[in-house]
Symmetry: C2
Subunit: 357 residues, 2 copies
Amino acid sequence: MGFFPVLSPDEKNAVDWYDESLALAELADELGYEHVQVVEHYFSAYGGYSPDPVTFLAAVAARTRRIRVTTGAVVPAFTHPIKLAGKLAMLDNLSHGRLDVGFGRAFLPEEFAAFGVPMSASRARFAEGIDICRRLWTGTEVSWSGDWVTFGPVTMLPRPYQQPHPPIFVASTTSPTSCAEAGRAGYHLQVVPTVTSREALQEMLAAYRQARAAAGHHGPGQVQIKYTCYLAEDGAAALAAARRWELNYIDKMTTAIASWATVRSADYPGYEQLIDKVRRYDFDRSHADNKVLAGTPAQVRDQLATIAEWFGADVTVCLQVNPGATPAAEAQRALRLFAEHVAPHFTGEASRALAGR
Amino acid sequence: MGFFPVLSPDEKNAVDWYDESLALAELADELGYEHVQVVEHYFSAYGGYSPDPVTFLAAVAARTRRIRVTTGAVVPAFTHPIKLAGKLAMLDNLSHGRLDVGFGRAFLPEEFAAFGVPMSASRARFAEGIDICRRLWTGTEVSWSGDWVTFGPVTMLPRPYQQPHPPIFVASTTSPTSCAEAGRAGYHLQVVPTVTSREALQEMLAAYRQARAAAGHHGPGQVQIKYTCYLAEDGAAALAAARRWELNYIDKMTTAIASWATVRSADYPGYEQLIDKVRRYDFDRSHADNKVLAGTPAQVRDQLATIAEWFGADVTVCLQVNPGATPAAEAQRALRLFAEHVAPHFTGEASRALAGR
């Protein structure tokens, strides 16, 4: 399951959103879900309640026993790599090795502007940030001299709980090239189905898997795909909620990405089309294209069967059940219904865990 | 109570230290202690298990109900103020308004070198970091143009739980001037008795109180003084443990501050004498000077009565009960003995809370 808080204080206070989300994470832990992840964003109703994923996940780790805690993603560009490596290693220990680290580049011009980081530095900081974390986690007396930072020799404390280091995921939104790079490096992958076509996402996953296999890394790599999910015994009610909160999501996203109307960055090819893509958003088409999971358990099972056909039966589906100011009871119901009536029909490791709880 | 992890992986694994410390925080919460605080340090056995206080305190907040969570201190120089303000506001919400924020300048040359921050920038970043956090917590559409960073207009999310913002403490080690500045600004104060004489600390507190009163701030301000504490029914055993772990502390500190043998900084006057001060350390004198609390409950009561005479009956004593690789059982025993047999003899708010639990 995942958290992407799409709401502002006039819709739900932060304290209530955190309380409800922590309770959902505890429920997911009880129900046998595989991981809980959270995004990093600032300032706006588009994710702004989560400026620091590690802080939230430390609370989740303290309240849960089995579920993995996953950054989805942290942005190295906005945190010094020494600080980032250190707090992630703390979380790995606090969770007894339940940490998966997703790294992302970020893409909102306002965030880069606020941190005083040029968007043109995004890819380099992303890559250097991951490399430094790996070095600090695995090595001692580490010296580093890169394009961004220089330091050392230093030995990071605490040492990570997982050896040689926590699993590393790379968040990629639209670029087959980035996916291939992640595969070559042996990293796992986090993607979202909303901003690409099915074919484009298939191309990204193919590029990832091919590059990973060609580089000879062990196993196929984990692929997490993030879906919002609205489940109810009453399919019409689920669809109505889905329509409401998806349109709210698009509304908040439209505000957050507004500056892409004028921003142009060679490092973010295609992002100038983001506004048009969002403007053309149509809920019914999005639902028909299985970009949002909504309906009765049987209907969502069918959607997932199609998704497994399209993207592979080995992908991990990450469910967001409380986008927007969703009532806590609806979100809890979705988690329960999915665990009871949807997951057992699939054969992945996480489904087996859910079925066997 | 406070945590300053003075240990390395060969003495106790990080996972065990975190587990034991979280359990101590839970026990302190049950026993009615006022706050739990933790330091920020990197790389060495001198605090290196805690590179990010907020991560640890988020876990503490998730496991406790009443006790306050206190950074002691966070270092603005090593984290972008937008990131710092955001994650502290998250912690304030996650803890339902139990956050106290102590800010510090840091003083270890290796930490500044690793982050690529000149020590000469330390005071400016410290001051600017605090100012920015306050502005982001209290204002909307905040623009900032300072010596260090420039940004805005942005509105920080989440909004802090405590209004107008969490209480702010300033950590000061040796400088009456810094203490007076903290008082003038209306901040609270965190001090340590170990690196100054009694008279010097009295002078610092007088400067703080005088400046605070002169500036017309409401109330006297809170003063937290940090002590390591070794308590047992058997006074000789407590003293033996104290001697062992205090010498260990000095040993680890000697390594951490070694570069002050050659570093000179106009922004850290007197720090070049730190090595000599530490070299002259004598446990018995330190104990006689009430810089460490050790003995039976009755003996520690006497020490605290003297401390209250010296520094004021309104100071908050912060106890560290697990410095070094202290066995968990000894640390728990110290917490229990203090709550039962020491605190009730004093009349501060925290003591009343402990007595009335």
